[in-house]
Each structure stands twice: as C-alpha cells, then as structure tokens.
C-alpha cells in the first residue's frame, strides 16, 4: 500500500516536473534571455525589453552600472557599532527609501569583531555588501573597494561642501578616493568627574602623563573600590600601545608601523615595556579589569564607566556623546581628557583621523546608486540631523555648522576636545592604517599582558614577543 502510494506520488511529481520544464522552455527564454542581453549591451533592442523588464523582477536588467531613474534597485549595506548607531542608521535608511522609492536598502549590523568575520566570508564569496563601513584596517580589503573618483568627477557624489583636507583623509597616497569619511575622530579618555573628586585625585590636565594616569587609577581604586580605568579593549592596541611609541623621541620620530606600512616604525622593542608593565600592574592591583571582567563589556554602552564601576575608559571621541547622555540621566557628569603622554612636554602621539568611512564595493551591481547613497549620507543636513555625528564629526562644512548650532552638552565637549587635539603638534606625514593580519598580533599582545599579570613572563619578554609578532607580518 505504501509503495503504491509512493509510486503514484513520485510519478505525479515527475510528470509535473516534466510539464513544468516544457512550459518553461517555451516561455522562459523570452523572459530571461533578453534581460541578460541588455545587461551586456544596453543600447540594443530597447523596444522589446521594456516589456520584459516589467515582467522580470529587479534582476539582471538593472545590471548596468547606472540604473535608470525609477528602476527598482536593492542595495545591501552593513556597519558595526552600538545600539544607538543601529537605531539612527536604520532611521536614515528609511528616510532615504522614502525619498527614493525605487531604492530598497537591505541592512545588516554587527559588533566590531563579528562585522569583520562576516566581511571576510563575503570577500571570499565575492558578495561584499554594496555599501560597507571600513576603518583604518582597510588595506586588507583594498581588492574589494571600488574607488569613488569617477563618481566625484561625474558629480554623482557631491563634494562641494567638503574641504580637500577632509577628502584626503580617506585617500590613498596615489589620490584614489577609497571612501567618504563618516567623520573626524580621535582617541581620548572619558572620565567621571565626581569619582575623581571623591577620591581627591586632581582632574587630568591636557598634558598629563602615563604616571599621572596610573596614579589616578590606583588612588581611585583604593578609595572607592571601583576600577580606576575600565577595560582596555582591542582598540587599545592602537589608541594606547601604538600611541605610546609615537610619543617617544621627537615628533614624528617613531611610529608603531612605518609610513609605507611595510615594516616597523621603531627599532627597540623595549620601548613598549613600561607601558605593558603599567597595564599589568593596574590589572594586578585590581585598578583595571582582568580578562574575565573585560569579557563582560560587550560595547561602549555597558562599559564599566557607564555602569558606574570605573572612573575612566578609553573612547574614540565619537562614542562620547552617547555615553555622556546615558550618564547624565543618572546625574553623573563625564568629561574628556587627552591620551596621557610619556613626557609632559613630549609629543602627544594623537592625531585627528577618519573614524570610519563608507565604501562602494567591487561586487556591487549598482555602484552608482551606492555612491549616490553615500553622498546623501555625508552631505544631507536632514540625514545628519538624525545621525548627530555619532560616527564622528561630519566632514561637510554645512552639516557640521548645522550640528554645532544645536549641539548637546556631550557633543559640545566632543567638539571642544577635537579642536584641542587639533592644536597639538603633529608630524607632517602620519600613518593611521593597520596592516593585514594585525588581529592576531593584537590578540597575542593581550594574552602576553595576561601572562605578565599571571607572572608567567616579564614585561620585557612581553615587549619582545609583541615586537616579534608584529614584525612577522611583513615577512
């Protein structure tokens, strides 16, 4: 009985399949083939495929880079960030879709690490999102970036409101426009003013040193039981460790990686030792979270500074207004301090750079539409009134003025801080980029610090190992 039933079912499905095939052989080529042809030669047989375009959905016919007005276009976009960023970005995407009914944007968002894991799989399968966010680690993904020069020349991307200096921060040395910067940014230390006062520790000055920093963290910990300084997350490698190298010697004498990004920018591994030792000492004393506690920080919005368990934390300053607002609701006041220096009168080591940028992908079918969105994203005042500089201080002059006019207290603090860092002496040429493979160096570096804390190795050995790991990237 069962077998009979099976036979009937199978033969039924076979017949259905066969007729289905027959039907489609008759009808399908008419729908599919011309559409493909148009992709290759858009000028030919335009009369016929106008109808076909209607029949087939937003498929191959829009393959041509410049989708005509009104044709449905689906763009894929992705970014990393905190919940605030996700909310406001989704809001402006919906805004753009309303203004451009033919454009549909499918978005994905991740935390920093997951974003790059996902990106790597997409790179492997040649399916990188049409519009994607990249930071200083872009060299690894250069193959997948479609330079924006042709769109700037053709006027698709409007750069009239963006000064040349700000365009340059996302160009390579040959003048290729890799992307448009989402904003200016620099690193700083956000701190809780009351916690400093409570512990009787003097507030940070613009030229405070690492010794001052460590002292403050220790004293605050002894006094309040809180962490003096919150977690050193993975971005600390750039904001702390490599800045520490740039602060030694004369301005521009040392840098972690060299200007061409093909070797190390300093010779003596022991230059890292005092910094590694300080970090390990803070963790050992409980003035800075250990590895377990650090795991509890998932993004800046639940950092120990924000939860009231730490007096200081590292921020890229675009993150500051968000956490300022959260703490203000609880009646706490945050402020921004500069990254400590090695010597009071030594180089600051900090530079103003692009926070991240939006890039057009090589894999995109609609490169021009993607560029159009990026242009709107950076230049529209209406859009940036929603974004509110959460990704960094906007590069478009008009947008920046509009935002500065109605800045909140936290944003004002951020603008003031960036102007302050702008007055610091910086080298003529700087390299803020990360070489491919840096992730492994950073992970190992953080492990070495934990080994120093556990007493397995000395700070000197940790410095040597970190240097050797970094050097290996260029072999």
């Amino acid at each position: 009985m069962m077998k009979k039933l099976l036979v009937t079912l199978l033969s039924a499905s076979m017949i259905a399949g066969m007729t289905g095939c027959a039907g489609s052989t008759a009808a399908a080529p008419a729908a599919a083939q011309p559409a493909e042809e148009t992709a290759e030669s858009p000028a030919e047989d335009s009369s016929e495929d106008a109808q076909e375009a209607e029949a087939s959905e937003d498929g191959a016919e829009a393959d041509t880079a410049s989708a005509a007005e009104g044709e449905p276009v689906t763009l894929r976009m992705a970014w990393w960030g905190s919940q605030t960023r996700h909310d406001i970005t989704v809001e402006v995407i919906e805004m753009y879709e309303k203004e451009n009914p033919n454009v549909k944007i499918e978005y994905e968002f991740y935390d920093f690490d997951s974003y790059f894991t996902k990106l790597k799989t997409l790179v492997a399968s040649d399916q990188v999102w049409d519009i994607f966010q990249l930071g200083g680690n872009f060299p690894e993904y250069l193959d997948k970036i479609y330079y924006m020069n042709e769109f700037i020349d053709s006027g698709v991307v409007d750069t009239s409101g963006i000064s040349n200096a700000y365009l340059k921060i996302t160009q390579d040395t040959e003048g290729n426009q890799i992307g448009l910067s989402n904003g200016l940014n620099t690193y700083g230390i956000a701190y809780d003013v009351d916690m400093f006062n409570e512990a009787g520790v003097p507030l940070p000055t613009d030229d405070w040193t690492w010794d001052d920093f460590a002292d403050a963290a220790m004293k605050i910990h002894e006094h309040t039981g809180n962490f003096g300084s919150s977690g050193f997350t993975s971005s600390e490698f750039i904001s702390g460790c490599s800045t520490y190298i740039a602060q030694q010697g004369k301005v521009g004498e040392n840098s972690f990686f060299n200007l061409n990004l093909d070797g190390m920018g300093f010779d003596d591994a022991q230059m890292l030792t005092p910094y590694i030792k300080m970090r390990a000492d803070l963790i050992k004393a409980g003035a800075s979270p250990d590895a377990g506690a650090e795991m509890e920080i998932t993004d800046i919005e639940n950092d120990f500074l924000v939860t009231g368990e730490a007096a200081m934390t590292w921020v890229a300053v675009n993150q500051f207004p968000t956490i300022y607002d959260i703490c203000a609701q609880e009646g706490r006041t945050l402020a921004l301090a500069t990254v400590p220096r090695v010597k009071k009168d030594g180089p600051s080591g900090t530079v103003i750079q692009s926070s991240q940028m939006l890039c057009v992908s090589q894999d995109s079918q609609y490169k021009e539409e993607a560029a159009k969105f990026i242009s709107w994203f950076q230049n529209s005042v209406e859009c940036n009134n929603v974004l509110k500089g959460e990704r960094g201080i906007p590069i478009n002059d008009e947008v920046r003025k509009a935002l500065e006019a109605e800045a909140t207290d936290g944003q004002k603090e951020m603008y003031d801080y960036v102007s302050l860092v702008g007055t610091f002496e910086t080298p003529e040429k700087i390299n803020v980029l990360s070489p491919a493979g840096q992730d492994e160096v950073v992970d190992n570096y953080r492990n070495y610090i934990q080994q120093v804390v556990a007493g397995d190795i000395t700070p000197e050995e940790a410095a040597d190992k970190t240097y050797a790991d970094a050097k290996k990237l260029f072999e």
Binding site: T121, V123, A291, G292, M295, G437, D439, E440, Q450
Partner: protein
C-alpha cells in the same frame, strides 16, 4: 498495447524495488552529506597543503609547512592540552551523571516519563548561544553563583578572570547536557532481563553488588557507544568557549575548535586551519581506535565468544 503494459510494469517494478525506495528516502541525507560534509572535507585536505586564505584568489602549494608549523605554535600546543583536559574531565562526568539519572529513573512510577523529559531539556537547548550567554551571566563576577556564595559568607570566585578556573564552568555546562546519553542508557537498562536481578536477589546480592555485577556488564556495549560518541563531540566543542570566554583568559579556554575558527576566519589563515583540522582528525581517530581496542577487556558481550 502489450508492449506498453510491459513497460509500465517494468517502471513500476523499478519504482517498487526496495533499493529505489531506500535511496529516495535517503536522498536528503546523501545530498546534505555530499554537499556540506564530503566536498568540504576533501577540499580542506587540499587546502591544508596550501597557504589559502579566504578572499585571496591565488594559493600556493606549501607542502607540509602548515603541519610543521603546528608544533612551533604556542597557542596551538596550549589549546591541544586544554582540549584534552576538557575531554578527560567532561566526558566521564557526563556519562556518570547520565547513567546515574537513567538508573534512578528506571523505577516504575507515573512521573518517570515527565522526569526523563525534564532532564532531556538541557540537551535540547544546550548547544545554543542563548544558554551559553545565560551561563556567562551565572558565573560573572556579580552573577548568581557569586551572589549565592557571598550570601553563604564564602569568598566570591572570579571564574572567568583566572585562567586556571575558567575551564570548569565550561566543563560543568557540558556535563549538564547529559540528556541524550541518559536516554540511550535508559533504553539499555530496559533491555537487561529482569530474571538476572531476581536470581541475584535470591542469591542474596545487595544493591551495589547487583549494579556492579549485572547492570554495568550488561550495559557495557552501550557505555562504549556513549563513550565514543561523547568523546568525539567533546573534541569538537565550540559554542561555550566562543560565546562565554572567547578563549581567554590567556588562552585558558582556547578549545581546539575555537582555535581553528580563529585561524580560519579571524586571522585569515585558512590553509593553516585546515591543517589543524586534519591533525585533529588523526588525534581523534587514534583515541577512538584505542577505545575500541581496549573495549575487548571491559565490554561484556552476551554472545560470550570473546
């Protein structure tokens, strides 16, 4: 007409043959196995001799370099040690719990089915990220475990901050998912003839004696099965370490599979990661072989030939 009838019958004979039916029903598995297991396994073998990385369109043949590099890689050696420790602790504990609960639940009571289902629940949800996140919260510095410890006047423990301790919450989480072994044990226990127990009772054997002399030997084939399956599964554990500790502190919970994942997807050394996977395959084969070879000394077969 006659010819057609013959054809139909040949066709229906073909459709009705046991083999056709079998293959049709097995097709979803065969398809999935070939596409998602067999082909990736073969390609990974090829990649393990190259410097392939995701995203790069070219690859060069590097011979055994990846395999030789394994033995000079500190993280690899540490992760291998940690994984073996994890397997040695989690598998016996898990099987012991499974057997204990299965044994307790053999008694005749209306609630047994309910209890069995309840104990099986952790295995259903165990591999999920959500449970791992809950576990992370439980053992956090101010998590439930530490709150309870503090309330009892004990010192709180920084579970994930200490590289010597961090592995134990992960082991505990694995042990907690004993459900599937328990179900298999329960089925095995039912198969043991009641007459053996009756005879033992008449001869005056007590509880522990019957357990040691009747239950364990009769159950030994099942124990072997569970041991092999759970060992293989434990070597492949990934979720807990990935979600809860990300391998830290100081690689103290860097389980093998997580290390492979990091090398493949985070550090972009796909070729190296493939070599690591093949090395693990060899290690697991040896361990399984050892278990099978030793089984003749402790697995009791009722056939009585051994």
């Amino acid at each position: 007409m006659a010819e057609k009838a013959e054809k139909t019958s040949a066709f229906s004979r073909f459709m009705n043959s046991n083999q056709t039916v079998g293959y049709v029903f097995a097709f979803p598995f065969i398809f999935g196995f070939i596409c998602f297991s067999f082909i990736p396994i073969v390609t990974s073998f090829y990649y393990s001799f190259t410097d392939y990385s995701m995203g790069s369109k070219t690859l060069t043949y590097v011979g055994f370099k990846n395999f030789l590099q394994l033995f000079s890689d500190d993280v690899f050696i540490k992760s291998l040690g940690i994984t073996i420790k994890y397997v040695l602790l989690s598998v016996p504990l898990k099987l012991a719990f499974a057997l204990l609960v299965a044994f307790v639940l053999t008694r005749k009571s209306n609630m047994v089915t309910l209890y069995r289902s309840l104990y099986y629940v952790p295995s259903l949800v165990g591999g999920s990220v959500a449970v791992a996140l809950v576990w992370k919260q439980l053992f956090a510095r101010k998590g439930l475990i530490n709150v309870v410890l503090a309330d009892m006047g004990l010192k709180t423990v920084n579970w994930f901050g200490d590289q010597k301790l961090a592995l134990y919450p992960l082991i505990l989480m694995t042990v907690w998912q004993f459900g599937s072994s328990m179900i298999i044990f329960a089925a095995g226990l039912k198969e043991i003839p009641v007459t053996y127990y009756e005879a033992a009772r008449i001869d005056g054997a007590n509880g522990p004696q019957t357990f040691a002399r009747i239950t364990l030997p009769c159950l030994s084939p099942i124990i072997l099965y569970n041991l092999v399956m759970q060992t293989i599964q434990a070597f492949m554990s990934f979720t807990q370490a990935f979600v809860i500790t990300q391998g830290g502190p100081n690689n103290g919970t860097m389980l093998y599979a997580l290390n492979v994942y990091n090398q493949a997807f985070k550090y972009n050394h796909m070729g190296y990661a493939c070599a690591m996977s093949w090395f693990m395959l060899i290690v697991m084969s040896i361990i399984t072989l050892v278990i099978f070879k030793t089984s003749r000394f402790w697995v009791f077969s009722e056939g009585g030939e051994d």
